[in-house]
Symmetry: C2
Subunit: 359 residues, 2 copies
């Protein structure tokens, strides 16, 4: 455990494509999507705790702070930082960086989303440890996931030269946007690209100084809040809404100030029910129909796909392949893995029908 | 209204292929499958009442008698006859015939199932009125439905010569079993066949005398119960389980003692969810997705088929054609119209899994 290392866990995003499991009032990080008995947030904590102990800040929406504290009773309550409103990832991570910087300007922070799934936590921690070592040299470090398929759903990181002082780190040539399938296939075949999982490691002051070069008002804003927390409601609404990638990572990469530690630890961003089905299928030995919940609540005849029985009722599925059935106390979704990415359309239809309460 | 005409309504059968809407404890005749505000049983009563007033006997399982009386408060309580156990249609109708015979041996009874749907009750009553007139000549009369498609799901009635004394009646050449598609197509093309909807009209004594020729013990048994109702628990369990078609109609047809009144009044036997979808699609103007229940509870995006929202929850369907979603308080079914006839397999799986309570 390196005493200068802090973890920052931005816990935001509604996970609309996982409706009705994930809701605005209960987003996906609060749910046990892996069927492991721990929610994604708790699993994120479990994965980081051996590295950072309670030097971990969760930044979440004000409406979720009680739920977050409830799920992480081990964490000091003041380590759950409430955003008055969503202002994208740079403001959230920047505020956490500023809070850490006031305690220890040389501290290293690593930012890791609350809703990712990682199969091999030991390998993950080894990557973070190397990334922290690289970060202590004064650069911004990202962790790049070794791609196992030509995904068009992620941005990519293009590697530059190896950094010889470290076991696996490279300089970053550039961050590239989500590619089409042809380009993604070429990226993966080249061996020169990694997935951008949005994991960044840097000294708190390095991150904020990089931010100050690109977005001086934003850097000054979060530092002002860290200095005078009571001013958050005054300052926060004026902060620029921008993702950390655009605010800091891309400009710094262009300036040759970003390194990447490649990692292969079974990372998944469970963005929709097809990904959830794939996760459960890979983890379990059940064929055909995957169940997240009590399998005794499901009766399947000639069926495959995913059933999430959360209402206590019996769910029977007959004669449907790649179906998705998500059964909650007040809402039921029936779709297919193929259409899983379009679940947002259902949530929009609900809102249009005056049922925003269910969204 | 002909004062000698009685209606007999056998109300039995679990309607397993309509699970979880229809249950052993709440079979389909107790449900409003047409979305009309009246259950199938109530609609059957409504259809017959102009012909028979309260000269109507419902024969149902002992466990359903309270529900039947509750749905038909207009009917004298003693007109709901409880079977101690299911003994097929001949025992049920035979007992009702014997009860009527004791009041009026010359009375004509017409037997009509409690769970059929009829679009044109006036045309139905005109058929029954002609059938009763034919029955008064001392024959067994059936009503044969003009087929609108080569169904393989029904038995057929082959017409013989016209009976000139009546507007539309024919003699019956024979009853034929459910045909394969080629034979059904030929039957319909010939114009000589009608569907057997299990509707029989006869003088009570004629029906029982025909029965006495074929099944003397059964005829004697139901007559003995009618004479001494307290003996039902003693006699009933020994009665032969046989359908009225096999017990009386087929032998009588072979002997030239059955007539048929052809009818065209939009008859449907809602045997499964595909038939229910078709019924709702024909009745309503909604395209694509049919809803039996409150359409405000359903959100559909690129979906067709049938949704039955009965739990009060919101049901969202995305990207599925010809899907069937039946949402009740304790059980949910997701299948397709194509597999609707196999719903029995789900109920059998439930029983095998120790969930007979849901069946």
């Amino acid at each position: 455990m390196d005493e200068d290392l802090w973890a920052v866990v931005p816990a935001g995003g509604a996970g609309t494509r996982l409706w009705p499991l994930s809701r605005a009032h209960a987003p996906k990080f609060l749910h046990d999507l892996g069927g492991t008995g721990r929610t994604l947030l708790q699993a994120t904590y479990d994965r980081l705790e051996p590295l950072v102990g309670d030097r971990l800040l969760v930044v979440t929406g004000a409406v979720h702070q009680d739920a977050v504290r409830g799920q992480l009773p081990e964490l000091p309550a003041e380590h759950v930082v409430a955003e008055p409103s969503p202002r994208d990832s740079m403001a959230a991570i920047g505020l956490a960086a500023a809070l850490v910087e006031r305690r220890d300007p040389d501290a290293v922070i690593g930012s890791f989303a609350a809703d990712h799934v990682i199969a091999d936590p030991d390998a993950f921690r080894a990557c973070v440890t190397e990334a922290a070592a690289v970060a202590r040299t004064g650069v911004l470090v990202t962790i790049g996931i070794d791609p196992d398929r030509p995904s068009t759903g992620f941005g990519y990181i293009r590697l530059a030269e190896r950094l010889g002082d470290f076991p696996t780190a490279h300089a970053v040539a550039s961050f590239v946007e989500k590619p089409d399938l042809d380009r993604a296939t070429a990226y993966v075949a080249s061996g020169e690209y990694r997935w951008n999982a949005g994991m960044f490691v840097a000294r708190a002051s390095v991150l904020l100084d990089l931010l100050a070069e690109e977005q001086p008002d934003l850097a000054a804003g979060v530092r002002a809040i860290a200095a005078e927390p009571d001013r958050i409601d005054e300052i926060w609404p004026g902060l620029t809404k921008i993702a950390i990638d655009h605010a800091v990572a891309e400009p710094a990469a262009a300036a040759g100030r970003v390194a990447v530690v490649p990692g292969s630890f079974g990372w998944e961003d469970i963005g929709d029910f097809e990904a959830l089905r794939d996760l459960l299928a890979a983890a379990g030995d059940a064929k055909g129909l995957q169940v997240l919940g009590d399998a005794a609540d499901v009766v399947a005849v000639d069926a495959s796909g995913l059933v999430v029985p959360m209402s206590g009722r019996t769910v029977a599925v007959l004669g449907l392949d790649d179906v998705v059935v998500v059964d909650t106390g007040d809402a039921l979704l029936v779709t297919t893995t193929e259409r899983a990415q379009d679940v947002k359309a259902v949530v929009e239809a609900l809102k249009a029908n005056g049922r925003a309460d269910l969204a």
